[in-house]
Symmetry: D2
Subunit: 319 residues, 4 copies
Amino acid sequence: MMSKKLLVDVDCGVDDAQAIMIALAAPNVELLGITCVHGNTTVENVCKNTLRVLQACNRLEIPVFKGAAKPILGNSINAGNFHGQDGLGDAPDPNAPSLDMVQKEDAVSALIRIINQNPGEVTLVATAPLTNLALAVRLDPSLPSKLRGLYIMGGNTESRGNTTVCGEFNFTADPEAAYIVLNDYQCPTYLACWEFTCYSKLSWEFCDAWLAQDTDKARFMAQIFRHSIKASQSEHFEKEFVAGTGFISCDSYAFAAAIDDSFVKESDHYPVSVELTGTHTRGMMIVDTAGFMNKAHKAFIMKKVDMEKFERMMMAALK
Amino acid sequence: MMSKKLLVDVDCGVDDAQAIMIALAAPNVELLGITCVHGNTTVENVCKNTLRVLQACNRLEIPVFKGAAKPILGNSINAGNFHGQDGLGDAPDPNAPSLDMVQKEDAVSALIRIINQNPGEVTLVATAPLTNLALAVRLDPSLPSKLRGLYIMGGNTESRGNTTVCGEFNFTADPEAAYIVLNDYQCPTYLACWEFTCYSKLSWEFCDAWLAQDTDKARFMAQIFRHSIKASQSEHFEKEFVAGTGFISCDSYAFAAAIDDSFVKESDHYPVSVELTGTHTRGMMIVDTAGFMNKAHKAFIMKKVDMEKFERMMMAALK
Amino acid sequence: MMSKKLLVDVDCGVDDAQAIMIALAAPNVELLGITCVHGNTTVENVCKNTLRVLQACNRLEIPVFKGAAKPILGNSINAGNFHGQDGLGDAPDPNAPSLDMVQKEDAVSALIRIINQNPGEVTLVATAPLTNLALAVRLDPSLPSKLRGLYIMGGNTESRGNTTVCGEFNFTADPEAAYIVLNDYQCPTYLACWEFTCYSKLSWEFCDAWLAQDTDKARFMAQIFRHSIKASQSEHFEKEFVAGTGFISCDSYAFAAAIDDSFVKESDHYPVSVELTGTHTRGMMIVDTAGFMNKAHKAFIMKKVDMEKFERMMMAALK
Amino acid sequence: MMSKKLLVDVDCGVDDAQAIMIALAAPNVELLGITCVHGNTTVENVCKNTLRVLQACNRLEIPVFKGAAKPILGNSINAGNFHGQDGLGDAPDPNAPSLDMVQKEDAVSALIRIINQNPGEVTLVATAPLTNLALAVRLDPSLPSKLRGLYIMGGNTESRGNTTVCGEFNFTADPEAAYIVLNDYQCPTYLACWEFTCYSKLSWEFCDAWLAQDTDKARFMAQIFRHSIKASQSEHFEKEFVAGTGFISCDSYAFAAAIDDSFVKESDHYPVSVELTGTHTRGMMIVDTAGFMNKAHKAFIMKKVDMEKFERMMMAALK
Ligand SMILES: [Ca+2]
Ligand SMILES: [Ca+2]
Ligand SMILES: [Ca+2]
Ligand SMILES: [Ca+2]
């Protein structure tokens, strides 16, 4: 497997942390930088959480950039409390790195600069509201054509929402950004959508074994993950899961697909967009299976992935 | 099985015809009347088609009522050409009954009158845009409380559309009516949605055997069905079907469920509504699996039905 | 002046009462009936208020019909408290007529019957949410062609709202009904819009003289009007008036125009419609001054009226 | 009068050109730069047009920056042909400056840099779709607090549109950007809206005298203005003007107000926003006269300006 240059955009909740740790453990990955954006928590918390994850993995040399604090229109939705108020399970961390370690360059400028410095080589992975990516393409319309590929966790395919009745969190938190990215990034695009991640869940037994590894990384994960595990098993959140509760590390699927081209076993290939104006459907992803939209560009929508490989990548992440 | 009083509202295309013929053949059904509405074709054609079906079955004593010519807001969508321009495959019928046989009373008044005359006894089946039902409940808000049950073919559960990218025909042809009916008919409500009918399709082999019966009814059906069979197998329509092409008699599932309480083997029970304002999702059914809408009334959404029973009812319809 | 057959649809608040009393006092008017609809208060209160007005004028022989209790979509807005909770200033009326005096026939059926019995002769005046009119035209599409004219109080021309930021009460209380009426009633249509009624206000001095008349009608009016006068002069409502507070009897302008063809001195003649989907503009009237909508039918939008005549009609109403 | 630092954002059509020439002629103005954006024509044409105006005034030392080529969502509307295809009347200009003279720095970065380098001193004038300003505030949320003031030509106050039935061009060409700017720029904000510019039009007689000045600037203006003058007097465009045709240099009012604090004689002071989701009203400005929106920040909406001063500034612009 050739080495891959990854640039990742996160709103570092617990599953972003898991996904980043997969990337840090992957032998073939060069992580060019991590851009942060509002989402699970404030963008300042996201920066801090990202630095904590890098610290836990002894990789603080990877540059972290602060991006948009608000969605395109400026109206933040409540992120709920699935990952805790601070996005990482509200676990105390007295030795957290200082925000001084965040780069002076802002995230959108960094995205534009890094992609232009590595034309055709960067795989962009976004597991957060897509505000940074949307702003970047409006400032530099040539950006998508310079990407190797774009991997997104977000959206939904069967109108099942986890944030509103039909809206998945990352898309609903900034519908305009999702619309811009799905319409303007005409590069190879791979989507790990909400229902897919539910159908591809891991067992709680795997989770136990995963966290039981005798490593600092596993102990870090156990600490930040406690809150979400409890939430996953609460009556309130159980109804949101499409096929029953379980260990669903949403963002990790997008990272795994970006890291390993053979990870995705089956996908649909359809034009996609985002509903912006619905009363119940604002933020819902639109999948045009029958060609009603007359749109040329199509995205790959993940349907089946190599779950054994996924478990191996997850295990390695905490080694 | 106790005898059932059915009142049915149709836009008599070919599948409405099939469904009506199932009801006419059912031993336990008393068909109180057929109300007609715009949809697959003009309401005048719908009346004529309904009379033709009754004639083919020697049941012209059943009263037929003409209802709304346009959806609530007045803007008709194009019905496409799946069932032919006239809704019954554009098959010549020189002996079609005259429109003089349609009742003088309008459909909405008839719905209100018949239901009030049979309080608690009428099972209402609607396999068309829901304009008549919506007008009736606004004129007589007590109507739903006097129904035994309401069976609807319409809407969708996975955002798969057959008329717009996310819109099923009956709901999209009059989204306001569908909204009114799903919100104001707080009686036991059973939905045969688009994806369900696709997943529950019959085989073309069954269709061949079905039409090969040596009866006048089978010959009538073969004639009016020819156009839709061909359309079903065209590249254009194939993409609209959710799980591949096949013999999908949408409206018949709603009738079968209304006729036989044991027909539905498995159903979901969720609050439902209709999106009215979306750019891509106007007319889409909303299924509130996780309780975001704080709505008390829930509909039964059919998931699995007794397909052997279905085949028997279909076969009997052409006997 | 020839005698005119008026049919009026009201949500009998205080200004509806004033308008009805103008019609009752007009020598050339035959009032065929009064249809009631939800709006300022419940449709039951509207029926009761209408009967009280007729009683105060000794005209209880005029038939009163009960219509829609809810707007087309079924979601009532709060009517505020401008006319009091009961719509007539919450003034005690121990001798109010019983609701038994309301006709058995419902309002929509009555509208259809009366207009069909008097083809080309009925002037319809609507000073309430347009639910009844919308239902009537969907049941009988020929209705508008049989009207002499339609006079409406409702809508706005400069995006000034009194109920929402851009929404006038009668239109915002049932936007779908207003849309249906403005699009389907292709008869001569005259609109007394919110800003026009504000620009055409009477002085409080006139109001004092008006109420000071030594008649039972004036005493009745003084009693039911007290609440609204106080509200008009409150800080809360003052901001809603377009050109300063004053005595604005909105509904009376539509009645005056219907009664006397020479009342309207100047009007615009433009296609009009209603916004249904805006976040801030749902219910706002759309005036197509420049021909963007390609719509043939145009409404007369009142701009200047004969204020001396208006004062005379008002004075006569309480004589 | 103290010297003023102006930064201006244009889509250099003919009225932008007139406005820029007013600023260049004003003795107290320091023009820090001109940022260009899509609108009347492509952003490339806008850059070229801006350079041509500067060349006509011998001021090519003023830096010109290229900004967004598309609105926030990416869907351009047709700019019509009021100012000609090239935005400056399609008048031949063989000596037009080369696009090489456009700065390397992009417009949004320039806006952020210049305002941060001159905290509290920059008066920003925007007479185009507000895409650049919207992107800038999302990248640097502190920007508005560092402005002396913001002057915008755009929006409407009485629901009169010149691009759609209720939409003014600059706002309708990028409703999301207008929304962002009106909500996020909480600095002193002054709006020259469409109806105001129509009510404040100059006479064609003034225009004749203005263009008859014996100067190169007047000859340049006569050449680029010919197309728009003819369009203004065409039947098609006449209907769009609110109070009859005339010489309406829309963008010049915003510039004049920015240049001279005593120019605005009367203004309203209300919260404003933009409708994003209406069928007919998308892009319409919302003026909250009665406090329905619970919004603290208010904009100054120009109502009356010093027309003598305006004529003097216009005359000076071509001297
Ligand atoms: Ca995430
Ligand atoms: Ca049907
Ligand atoms: Ca009223
Ligand atoms: Ca401009």
